[in-house]
């Protein structure tokens, strides 16, 4: 068995209304050092099998197909097999 993590982030240039609001809230709390903030998604997966290369290729497929929307999002993954 393997574990994997997928990080989904908004592409550069895509406005992130949620991120902007969290940024403003932090600034309002006095955390002036926060200059920008973008909200993304984090997923943990348990995968059957231990062929890391194959799992990575399958997970890439899953990310492109469902987990991320390639029009607005990028993804990055880590597989521990």
């Amino acid at each position: 068995m393997a574990t994997a993590r997928v990080y989904i982030t908004l592409k550069e240039g895509i406005l992130d209304p949620q991120g902007k609001t969290v940024l403003r809230a932090l600034n309002n709390l006095g955390y002036d050092e926060v200059l920008d903030l973008r909200v993304g998604k984090y997923m943990e997966l348990e995968l059957a099998g231990d062929d890391k290369e194959k799992l990575e290729s399958r997970l890439g497929e899953m990310s492109e197909k469902l987990l991320a929307n390639p029009i607005i999002e990028n993804y990055r993954m880590e597989v521990d097999a």
Partner: protein, 232 residues
């Protein structure tokens, strides 16, 4: 005409669409459960508004893999008429049947109110009965209507007339203050290159009877009926 109104788990405008097509327009309508695998017997498929599959992951992201969507893709490729309203539009975007993607409204609020939209292209089957520049008063009800599309795709869409509706002032001016959700270039509705697939955030089925405050949505249904030679 024969209409099929798709019902996903979480659809909530399916009955409104059915009612308007059946009772207001006198057309044949059936509900189509999301597990169906064939929609070829219909002339037009309606993807109604709602929160299909709870909008989990992204709006439309899970619904887009429903068995019925494979059938809708084949139907659309064959030139069948497909209209996606609100959540239905979001599903069409996720399915790649229309270009672009939806983000959260810039104000982060769910917006439920009447808006004005300007008809930008009258050469589609959905707008042939309107005049260019007509302003339609139709309600929106969404949290993710902030339409995004890359610049190159958008230029091509504008060139071939895929931008069908834009949010505007009551006088028909497209202004930043009349854009409720931050959508790129105030886009409220787009169609496929061939024009047979339409996606729009405003709800024409909620503006199809005077008693509900507006009949401006009727022009969309009637344009299609006329285009297909159906009797109203």
């Amino acid at each position: 005409m024969r209409f099929g109104v798709v019902v996903f788990p979480g659809s909530n405008c399916d009955h409104d669409c059915y009612y308007v097509l059946d009772r207001v327009l006198g057309q044949q309508v059936e509900y189509v459960w999301h597990a169906e695998t064939d929609v070829s017997k219909y002339d037009c498929v309606v993807l109604p508004g709602g929160f299909a599959y709870g909008d989990y992951l992204r709006t439309g992201a899970v619904a887009r893999f429903s068995p019925v969507m494979k059938a809708v893709e084949a139907f659309a490729a064959d030139g069948g008429y497909v209209i996606g309203i609100c959540n239905g539009f979001q599903i069409l975007l996720e399915a790649g049947l229309l270009p672009g993607a939806m983000m959260r409204n810039t104000g982060l609020k769910f917006i439920c109110r009447f808006v004005d939209i300007r008809v930008e292209n009258t050469s589609t089957p959905w707008t042939a009965g309107a005049s260019k520049g007509d302003v339609l008063r139709i309600p929106i009800a969404h949290n993710e209507g902030n339409y995004q599309v890359d610049a190159t795709t958008l230029e091509e869409m504008k060139r071939v007339g895929q931008v069908v509706f834009r949010y505007c002032s009551p006088e028909g001016a497209v202004l930043p203050e009349s854009n409720p959700n931050g959508a790129t270039e105030s886009i409220a509705g787009v169609c496929s290159r061939e024009g047979n697939v339409l996606g729009m955030m405003p709800h024409p089925e909620r503006a199809s009877e005077a008693a509900l405050g507006s009949e401006d949505g009727l022009v969309i249904w009637r344009s299609l009926l006329e285009h297909c030679g159906a009797s109203v």
